[in-house]
């Protein structure tokens, strides 16, 4: 079983960090890879990219935002509780290359996914500029860790409550104008990744994004997570989750993420009603 050893609430309690005992996975996992978690017998299989791993302790760290029934259920799990199932590491690791100057752009909980990649890119000798953003100061996560993982950190908030008032793309544009950038890694909500990719395409800078498609098995067996990359169908679980941002059909991805909107709302409302009844 997969015990939660450490648990911390972030961003006004809407984001939760879990350090989970999973020795086999911790020894194997590399930046960019994900796990699938299932809380209990009736639970859904939810893919989450790992924010960190500690092979010595045998732990993995996940950071998730509460968005629906399954993540609301995850949030009820306290330190000492267990996930019934954790499967991984899945997906391809990030291809960490030395290219010179790299810009790592993260939004929301995407920053959690971006962090080990940023650290990895710095470790192999890149000059790393990080740009992270959130809707407001209270919702920003991992600022200290991102600061340590990069040479230069820019923070943006949509409401101007902290750092640059505006979107990460605005800061990215300034950086692209000023520096010779070899690679951009953009991880966050679909619209953010779309606009980051659109901008870097203008500057002809190679761009990696990490796609959070809906998955079931995560091993290439169901084809649920298919995404269109340069007009070809790929499976986000085994061909990704990272892809060339300039090739991704973000509209299709955004639509496919809405596939179970009604069911998700129904499940979430039912769950919250049950929680209140308790």
């Amino acid at each position: 079983m997969f015990e939660i050893l450490k648990r911390q609430e972030m961003a006004d309690g809407t984001v939760v960090m879990n350090e989970i005992s999973a020795p086999l996975i911790a020894q194997k996992a590399k930046p960019g890879q994900f796990v699938i978690l299932k809380a209990n017998e009736t639970g859904e299989r939810i893919p989450l990219t790992m924010a960190d791993t500690d092979p010595k302790k045998g732990t993995i760290t996940i950071i998730y935002q509460v968005v629906g029934k399954s993540t609301a259920l995850f949030k009820t799990l306290q330190a000492g509780d267990k996930f019934q199932d954790v499967i991984g590491p899945l997906g391809r690791p990030t291809d960490l290359e030395k290219v010179g100057t790299v810009v790592c752009v993260g939004g929301g909980t995407g920053i959690a996914v971006l962090h080990p990649i940023t650290r990895g890119l710095k470790e192999i000798g890149n000059h790393v500029i990080a740009i992270i953003g959130a809707r407001s100061k209270d919702l920003l996560i991992l600022e200290d860790k991102m600061k340590a993982a990069s040479h230069e950190l820019h923070v943006c908030t949509d409401d101007g409550s902290y750092g640059h008032h505006g979107f990460v793309t605005e800061v990215l544009k300034e950086v692209l104008e000023k520096d010779k950038v070899g690679l951009v890694v953009g991880i966050g909500p679909v619209p953010m990744m779309k606009f980051v990719s659109k901008m870097t395409a203008e500057y002809k800078v190679k761009t990696l994004v990490s796609l959070n498609a809906i998955m079931v098995d995560g091993t290439g067996m169901c084809g649920c997570c298919r995404v269109s990359i340069g007009g070809k169908t790929k499976f986000a679980c085994v061909d990704g989750p990272e892809f060339d941002g300039h090739q991704v059909d973000f509209e299709e991805l955004a639509q496919r993420l809405e596939a179970y909107k009604d069911e998700e709302r129904q499940a979430y409302e039912r769950f919250m009603a049950e929680c209140r009844a308790d």
Partner: protein, 470 residues
């Protein structure tokens, strides 16, 4: 002898009681209800007890069929199940999903002039009887050999090997990538054809014999074959199935509401989406469903859609009825439940609305030409025959290929040009030392019993290797 045969044939084949089509098409409960002991004994009486039983030749795992049927006839169901266990660790499964009509029953001498003995029904009966009434006795086990075997994949091939080798005194650990064991028996075959309780009880039987089952281990990702050897295992059997869904590669295929059969059935069976919202995994409930393909998996998908509340379910197949690969019994069950067949029809593209949800499928009518590589007559499009089938859910069930997850991490395992593992058909040996393979990852998509048969061949070879070193 001929006189005796004639006398015995007077008892007609005992039909299996079933749920009525009108009722069962809206529930997930098992369709056939099983024999009563009386029905089973009556059916068993029909067996001629041939001296040279051809039914056994038709059985890929060579169950001693006349013997076990004789015990049923005598009312000794415990002895009957023990006889089956000698050759088959999965009788409750095989009794339900084997294509008996082309295997044991297809060879039954009674079938020449009338109807063959219902061997599958009888096998199912004793397995079920043992599960409910048995004392939980276990078959005899050889003394420990000290050898350790890893089985990768807990589908029919893997379970067969595990069952064989544990009885021969080896230590067996099964690694399963999903969170529940059973492979295709769990994620692929619907509850109404193979209740999961039965699969888990067969797995539990192996656990009671001493097999370890480790779920959530994706061999190739969580651990590699070489790392398994480094943990002290002496041999590995790879049986990961053929889990890479094929798509049609036509425009619009990524619209919402278009599933691979693997996804559709995994959501419904393994994740119990048919019980949503008690279970958290959702599934689309189409009103107007098309299923593309005509194998057993297509029938399972169509019948699942019907049970999930569809008003109309159509099987769309590019060849004619004669070429449909599904078992006759499955086609018959589907028809009884109101599934319609659109034959000689091939999809050309999907049509969607502004939200990216599927609304229709454009098709072409086909006619049959000369036989192709598969030996079936090749479908040829009829020019100008385009038409649109309205649909809000489509399930693509046109087969599956080899999943590369394990083989990519094992470069010294030789594959054929389609990515299947090369294994000696007589032994199951692969090109990697102490690694065997069997089931769909060697043959491509096939049946449960063929996978079990491959497992039996491999387990004999593995046992030789562990005993004699070859």
């Amino acid at each position: 002898m001929p006189e005796k045969a004639q006398k015995k044939e007077k008892i007609p084949r005992q039909p299996m009681p079933e749920q009525e089509p009108e009722v069962r098409r809206r529930n997930f409960k098992e369709v056939p209800l099983g024999y009563t002991p009386e029905l089973a004994m009556k059916e068993a009486e029909r067996c001629l007890q041939c001296k040279k039983p051809s039914c056994m030749e038709g059985c890929p795992v060579s169950v001693n069929i006349p013997e076990f049927i004789k015990f049923i006839k005598e009312g000794d169901f415990t002895k009957a199940i023990r006889k089956i266990w000698e050759r088959n660790a999965l009788p409750a499964v095989c009794g339900r999903v084997c294509p008996q009509e082309i295997q044991c029953e297809g060879k039954c001498i009674l079938g020449k002039k009338g109807e063959p003995v219902a061997i599958g029904n009888l096998e199912r009966f004793v397995a079920d009887w043992e599960r409910v009434n048995g004392k939980g006795e276990l078959p005899p086990k050889a003394s420990p050999t000290g050898k350790k075997v890893a089985v990768v994949g807990s589908g029919p091939a893997g379970l067969t090997v595990a069952g064989d080798l544990i009885l021969k005194g080896h230590e067996v650990t099964i690694f399963e990538a999903f969170h529940k064991p059973g492979g295709v028996l769990t994620y692929g075959i619907p509850e109404f054809r193979l209740p999961k309780e039965i699969v888990f009880s067969e797995v539990h039987f192996l656990e009671r014999l001493g097999c370890r089952v480790e779920c959530n281990v994706v061999v190739g990702r969580t651990i590699t074959l070489d790392e398994i050897f480094a943990q002290g295992f002496d041999a590995i059997f790879v049986a990961v199935g053929a889990g890479l869904p094929s798509f049609l590669n036509i425009p619009g295929e990524n619209l919402i509401g278009i599933y691979s059969a693997n996804e559709y059935l995994t959501r419904s069976n393994l994740m119990k989406a048919y019980l949503f919202p008690e279970y958290d995994t959702p599934i689309a409930h189409g009103k107007n469903v098309v299923v593309i393909g005509a194998g057993n998996v297509a029938m399972d998908s169509a019948r699942t859609a019907m049970r999930l509340g569809a008003e109309k379910v159509r099987i769309v197949y590019r060849r004619s009825r004669a070429e449909m690969p599904a078992r006759a019994a499955e086609i018959h069950h589907a028809e009884e439940e109101g599934i319609e067949f659109f034959l000689l029809t091939a999809p050309t593209r999907f049509i969607g609305d502004e939200k990216g949800r599927v609304t229709g499928m454009e098709c072409l009518k086909m006619e049959l030409g000369e036989p192709d590589d598969s030996g079936r007559r090749r479908p040829v499009p009829v020019e100008g025959s385009e038409f649109v089938l309205d649909c809000d859910l489509a399930v693509i069930s046109v087969g599956a290929g080899a999943n590369p997850l394990l083989t990519q991490s094992t470069p010294d395992l030789k594959l054929n040009k389609w990515g299947y593992i090369l294994a000696d058909p007589k032994t199951g040996k692969t090109t990697k030392k102490a690694v065997w393979a069997g089931g769909d990852i060697v043959t491509g998509q096939a049946t449960v019993i063929l996978a079990a048969g491959a497992g039996r061949i491999a387990s004999d070879s593995i046992h030789d290797y562990l005993t004699w070193g070859w």
